[in-house]
């Protein structure tokens, strides 16, 4: 079964500090894409960072970076120098390459999310 597990329903961090959100996933495929999405109170889904499973180098986007451990099927998100605007739900998700998988084409499998609160 294809699943994504986010074991931390809620987390909080002080402004300017660093926080790590955990994510594990399960797929039998060797090639796939991993994503972190941010959902602020406006409900808009905003892409934070993406990682291709065939790349060993961890993706980074400014204050956001990932720790991708393919063998362990783990994909954690680190937020450095946390800001008040980082307060949101964070969803981990993965998808399989298009036309390379017998199931749904390119759709995302989501975890249940981690609610992050950044405190001043």
């Amino acid at each position: 079964a294809q699943t994504v597990t986010q074991s931390q329903p809620e987390m909080s961090v002080q402004e300017a500090e660093t926080v790590t959100l955990s994510c594990t996933y399960d797929t039998s495929e060797s090639n796939y894409y991993l994503f972190w999405y941010k959902q602020p109170p406006s409900r808009q889904m905003i892409l934070v960072i993406r990682q291709e499973a065939y790349k060993q180098q961890n993706a980074t986007e400014n204050r956001f970076s990932v720790n991708f451990q393919k063998a362990a099927k783990s994909f954690s998100l680190k937020i450095s120098d946390s800001q008040l605007g980082d307060t949101a739900m964070y969803f981990c998700a993965f998808s399989h390459p298009l036309m390379n998988y017998g199931g749904s084409q390119g759709n995302l499998i989501f975890g249940k999310g981690t609610k992050l609160s950044v405190k001043p």
Binding site: V4, Y33, F35, Y37, S42, R43, Q44, M45, L47, R50, F91, A93, S95, P97, L98, S104, Q105, G106, N107, L108, F110, G111, K112, G113
Partner: protein
Amino acid sequence: NAGVTQTPKFRVLKTGQSMTLLCAQDMNHEYMYWYRQDPGMGLRLIHYSVGEGTTAKGEVPDGYNVSRLKKQNFLLGLESAAPSQTSVYFCASISGTGTFQETQYFGPGTRLLVL
């Protein structure tokens, strides 16, 4: 570019009523998706389309129908709304070609309340 837009933003229905949610994208994307988001849950796939004139079922298709008569539009229909369909509905699209072809771009969501 507007990206992905959804109409309406919010709607209240009575049980048994019907409605259509419209998703439009101006990025010439091939693939489009409808998801629903319930409290404490991530998004779950309802239906999707891999191109104009095609549709397919996702994880939770019951009670919904879809159509993609034009490449830029993907419609989600509820023929007879039920309280269990109270949810936030998201549309998304991907290009299917080129760099970042699998990255999904989401609409702002439609909040639906069925009484």
